[in-house]
């Protein structure tokens, strides 16, 4: 009964603190909302701002090239309605003016079409070089433009190569001149290219490593970001609420409590229950908000329960242990700040949205309690089997028990 009374008093105090409520609920949700606002629901790239492109077409018409005007066709392709969502194209006359526009940040890329583009495409000139002058501070926009330009020009390249190869093969078979056949081959290649180019999934069928068909994984990424933030702030709440022991010691209420027929272990158990209950409320609210606001699929019910238990017990144990190390409530702020920042970083909580970290980092995270908790949650999110989920879950319980034992021992010595 005393345990419950102590716990209830602390929980009430915790939930009345506006600052703690902001840190418990508002900040993790705010960070997730910012990521959601930045990258949208369906995945990065779907709603990117159109890349501003300056095009300078210096290409000259070539006699006997028929309808081929490679430069004009490239400009037309870049300005086509199909690419309007991706590119905003502005034509310029002077290459230097286009480059300066990029330098001033008015455009991401300048595409400068050389004078000999058509001539090179139809085989009357040597190599032509289309210049992409891009803003070095950007990566995505220039890559998109490069991909589009290269893909389009490969049609001309293929036609020219087709004409050259057919000419060579006919010569090797004894024909002296093969202009007509070469032109036919170039035309047929162009028709084939037009039919195949830009057809999604024409050449590759992409699957993710887990076997599912590849698609935008933003919901997954948001789940991971929210999970990382939730674990970080649950550990923060655990440590912050555990300072109540130090604070009550300083204020003298702990000493007064010890004059009553209340065992020190009862006080400690009450404090432990208060922290655990506060954290449980925090996790439940964040999990519910994640599911309702961000459409997070937290995995199966049992997996979610195990992950929640792992998080609440480990954060509680960690908080008690951490506070057993601080000398005064004045010290608690910096200690919480430093220890949680360092272990949170090393535990991978700040980089859950980074999908291509070195694999060795996965092992580094396991040197921290947060790393084990994160692993449990990640497995739950991935709908892993119970066989996979149990080892990290048990590791979390073991860590929690060890931290609680260490913290309780130190506190009993100090405050009893």
């Amino acid at each position: 009964m005393k345990v419950i009374a102590i716990a209830l008093k602390d929980v009430r105090r915790n939930l009345r603190s506006g600052m703690l409520l902001v840190m418990m609920f508002a900040v993790p949700l705010l960070v997730t909302a910012l990521m959601y606002a930045a990258f949208g629901r369906s995945g990065a790239g779907d709603d990117l701002a159109a890349v501003r492109v300056q095009v300078v077409n210096l290409d000259a018409r070539v006699p006997f090239a028929g309808d081929v005007e490679a430069g004009a066709q490239l400009v037309e392709h870049l300005s086509s309605p199909e690419l309007a969502d991706l590119l905003t194209v502005e034509e310029r006359v002077d290459p230097e003016a286009a480059r300066q526009a990029v330098d001033r940040g008015e455009a991401a890329v300048a595409v400068i079409v050389p004078r000999n583009l058509t001539a090179s495409a139809v085989g009357t000139a040597q190599r032509a070089t289309v210049e992409l002058y891009s803003d070095p501070a950007l990566t995505v926009g220039p890559s998109i433009v490069r991909e589009i330009v290269t893909g389009f020009l490969d049609g001309f390249n293929g036609s020219r190569i087709a004409a050259d190869v057919v000419t060579r093969q006919l010569r090797e078979s004894g024909r002296a001149a093969a202009t007509g056949e070469a032109r036919t081959a170039a035309t047929m290649y162009a028709e084939w290219f037009e039919a195949h180019h830009d057809r999604p999934d024409a050449s590759l069928s992409v699957r993710t490593p887990d076997g599912s068909v590849a698609e935008g994984g933003m919901v997954g990424m948001l789940s991971l970001v929210l999970t990382g933030m939730m674990i970080f702030f649950v550990f923060f709440t655990g440590a912050n609420t555990a300072t109540s022991i130090v604070r009550e010691h300083e204020e003298g209420t702990l000493a007064r409590l010890h004059t009553t027929p209340t065992e020190p272990s009862t006080v400690l158990t009450g404090k432990f229950c208060a922290i655990a209950a506060t954290l449980l409320v925090q996790v439940l609210v964040l999990v519910t908000a994640g599911a309702l606001i961000f459409d997070v699929d937290w995995g199966g019910g049992l997996a979610l329960a195990l992950a929640t238990l792992a998080l609440v017990t480990t954060a509680t144990g960690f908080g008690l242990w951490l506070m057993s190390l601080v000398g005064s409530s004045r010290q608690s702020g910096p200690v919480i700040g430093v220890v949680l920042t360092v272990t949170g970083m090393a535990g991978g909580l700040m980089t859950t949205g980074f999908t291509n970290l070195p694999s060795a980092f996965d092992h580094v995270t396991l040197f921290t309690p947060q790393g084990w908790v994160l692993r449990t949650w990640k497995l739950g999110l991935a709908h892993a089997s119970m066989e996979e989920l149990l080892p990290p879950f048990l590791a979390c319980l073991a860590i929690a028990a060890a931290l609680f034992a260490l913290g309780a021992r130190a506190m009993r010595r100090r405050f009893a």
Binding site: G18, V31, A49, A50, V130, R146, D154, Q169, T208
Partner: protein, 409 residues
């Protein structure tokens, strides 16, 4: 003189607080190092030469065209091809980043290329990662070119076949030999195509368009973030002075309200500017971020950022009634201005609306100025506009903060 006295008192008080070292220096340094390491994985791909690593499992080995596909991909300059081991676990290889993509050539693939429509190649890659996307782009271009090569060989075979059929001076056609020769010619031709795309003179087949040093994003990003977060201490001083009545007592002296505000703002400016100076020095000499290429541009940008941050600190201090308000206000300001300002990730990778809103916030102007210096190698001229905008924001925040400033609770 009174302004200097107030500023000196604030700075002195902060310098004596050991928390200052933690919040103003150690945390930003740790975050810069950490996020630089994290960004490194975005700016470098593959193990050694910057190209994505692709493994191939040719289950149609022995077929001329399937073997030719392997040869074609092996010669592609945009990717590095490796054979897939006999008992390799594809999922682990891709998830572990050992391979950026694994391609499987199914049985009968080569024969199907001569038919109406070849099936797509099966590829395992994580399209959600930069390395996976890079591998898929390189693969798609190369496979398209290979399919074009086969088409060219088919056209050559037909042209020679038609020609031989029309002529009486040549014997029977060896179709396979024509096909092989045409494939070989086309393959060689694709290595040096007649039209190339270059990144300002450097062929894009081998050049990376990514900034080489990941700290060029992490270092200015954390400068902007912690310039805001560092205000937590300065704004706290203001709240404490109000709570303890020190501000009210100060108003009772011949010190004017303007002098009090100016003194506190000056202290905040000096603290943030010194913090930026330390982070810039750390970036320059430890992380290899070349701030000193344009020292005056860095100075102007840093001064503008520090002044805006100081005004924000004054605003937070003016609006806050308790220490908790300061912590919450500083944290929310840090998260919002850092994210919208592009301190965590470049705004170009974010959605249209976010990017548009972001470019209206002060953090984005500061990031833009630093990136003009670090990535665009531009000097004072390029940072004038961002600096003026930051000064404008500083003035706006200052006016609001002064209007809301109350010496008593």
């Amino acid at each position: 003189m009174r302004i200097l006295s107030i500023a000196f008192k604030d700075i002195n008080q902060l310098a004596r607080d050991r928390k200052s070292v933690l919040f103003l220096l150690l945390m930003p340094l740790a975050f810069t190092l950490f996020f630089g390491l994290a960004y490194r994985s975005f700016t470098t791909t593959g193990e050694t030469d910057g190209r994505p690593v692709v493994a191939i499992d040719n289950r149609d080995a022995g077929d001329v065209l399937s073997d030719d596909l392997v040869t074609f991909l092996a010669a592609a300059p945009t990717l590095r091809l490796e054979e897939l081991g006999a008992d390799a676990d594809v999922q682990k290889l891709v998830e572990g980043g050992v391979m950026n993509a694994v391609v499987t050539v199914p049985r009968g693939y080569g024969a199907s290329l001569l038919g109406e429509r070849a099936p797509p190649l099966d590829v395992v890659a994580d399209a959600g990662t930069a390395e996976g996307t890079s591998a898929l782009t390189a693969l798609d271009t190369s496979v398209q070119r290979f399919l074009g090569t086969v088409q060219i060989a088919i056209l050559a075979q037909q042209a020679v076949g038609d020609d031989v059929a029309d002529r009486t001076d040549v014997g029977a056609l060896d179709s396979d030999a024509v096909m092989d020769a045409a494939l070989s010619s086309a393959r060689v031709a694709w290595r040096e195509p007649p039209i190339v795309v270059s990144a300002s003179g450097v062929p894009t087949d081998t050049a990376s368009l990514s900034p080489a040093n990941p700290y060029a994003q992490a270092s200015p990003g954390m400068i902007v973030q912690f310039a805001i977060y560092g205000l937590i201490l300065s704004a706290m001083l203001l709240v404490l002075e109000r709570k303890t009545g020190a501000l009210a007592r100060l108003v009772g002296t011949p010190t004017s309200r303007a002098e009090i505000i100016a003194g506190h703002v000056l202290a905040m400016f000096v603290v943030v500017f010194l913090q930026i100076a330390v982070l810039v020095t750390f970036g320059q000499f430890v992380l290899g971020v070349d701030y000193l290429a344009h020292p005056f541009a860095v100075l102007l940008t840093s001064a503008a950022l520090a002044l805006w941050s100081a005004s924000l600190g004054l605003l937070i201090g003016s609006l806050s009634r308790t220490e908790d308000h300061v912590v919450v206000g500083s944290l929310i300001a840090m998260f919002v201005f850092s994210a919208f300002g592009g301190a965590w990730f470049p705004l170009e990778v974010t959605g249209r609306a976010f990017s548009t809103i972001g470019h209206l916030t002060p953090g984005a102007w500061a990031m833009d100025a630093y990136q003009s210096i670090l990535l665009r190698d531009q000097g004072l001229g390029a940072v004038l506009q961002p600096a003026l905008v930051l000064f404008g924001f500083a003035l706006l925040f200052f006016v609001v903060a002064t209007w809301r400033f109350e010496p008593t609770t």
